[in-house]
């Protein structure tokens, strides 16, 4: 099983339904699947330190790999020095690499 890559592209504070990507990641991780989340567009707002921990800390603790698009971070003025501990900045080429591994990709 190649696992999953979930692409979170929406502001997680834009309503409860936007948290479904994190809920799915947690469920898959509990099922011992290999799960990565790639934050892009407004999804990188979840990576802001001092706020995003509520979404990402449980996933990081469960072994989910969380990546953030530096292009989207820069567009929104979020320094990579001020992101949630454990989140790794990775250019969009890294998302291509995850897809090339055969991971099932789901865009939220």
């Amino acid at each position: 099983m190649a696992g999953y890559v979930l692409i979170a592209a929406r502001d997680p504070w834009d309503g409860p339904e936007q948290e479904s990507v994190f809920e799915l990641a947690a469920t898959l991780a509990r099922a011992r699947d290999s799960v990565s989340i790639y934050l892009t567009e407004n999804g990188v707002l979840a990576a802001r330190a001092g706020g995003g921990e509520r979404f990402l800390d449980p996933l990081l603790s469960a072994g989910v790999s969380v990546f953030a698009d530096p292009f989207a971070l820069a567009e929104r003025g979020i320094s990579d020095q001020r992101i949630v501990s454990g989140v790794v900045t990775a250019p969009i080429e890294h998302l291509v690499d995850l897809l090339a591994e055969g991971r099932s990709g789901l865009w939220f």
């Binding site: 250019p91 969009i92 080429e93 998302l95 291509v96 897809l99 090339a100 055969g102 990709g105």
Partner: protein, 136 residues
């Protein structure tokens, strides 16, 4: 199935959301990684490659068309086609024919072809992976 091909399915129209731009960034990244790339454009995404897109001036800001430098996605797609050719990679873009007819956007730039869902099926069958980028 080719381990060297990725397929992307786009749905959003141009000038509407960041998803179309991100999708083209992904295509660019895949080409830079040496992958052949297929794109199947559904619904409003058939407008991304419309040949009639025209840069415009911005009268409110006092800029003519040249200084406004308004980006048109057809030009970005052309640039991706050129990048693929330079690197001897295959870049196949198919617009859903019915979607184009509905919207009257049948005239696309060179290298973009009209297709049917069976083309998407063939893309998926020939790719190591397929990513659907949906509308909201």
């Amino acid at each position: 199935m080719s381990t060297k091909t990725l397929t992307f399915v786009l749905n959003d129209p141009p000038y509407d959301s960041a998803r179309s731009t991100t999708a083209l960034r992904l295509v660019d990244a895949a080409l830079k990684r040496g992958f052949d790339v297929n794109v199947f454009a559904y619904e409003g995404a058939v407008g991304l490659a419309t040949s009639a897109q025209t840069p415009h001036a911005n009268v409110i800001h006092g800029r003519d068309a040249q200084s406004e430098d308004h980006p048109n996605p057809k030009d970005w797609i052309s640039a991706l086609q050129l990048e693929a050719r330079r690197n001897s990679l295959r870049f196949d873009w198919v617009n859903c024919g019915l979607c184009s007819d509905e919207r009257g956007t049948g005239e696309a730039i060179a290298g973009v072809r009209r297709g049917v869902p069976a083309d998407l099926w063939a893309f998926v069958r020939s790719s190591v992976n397929t990513l659907v980028i949906p509308t909201r």
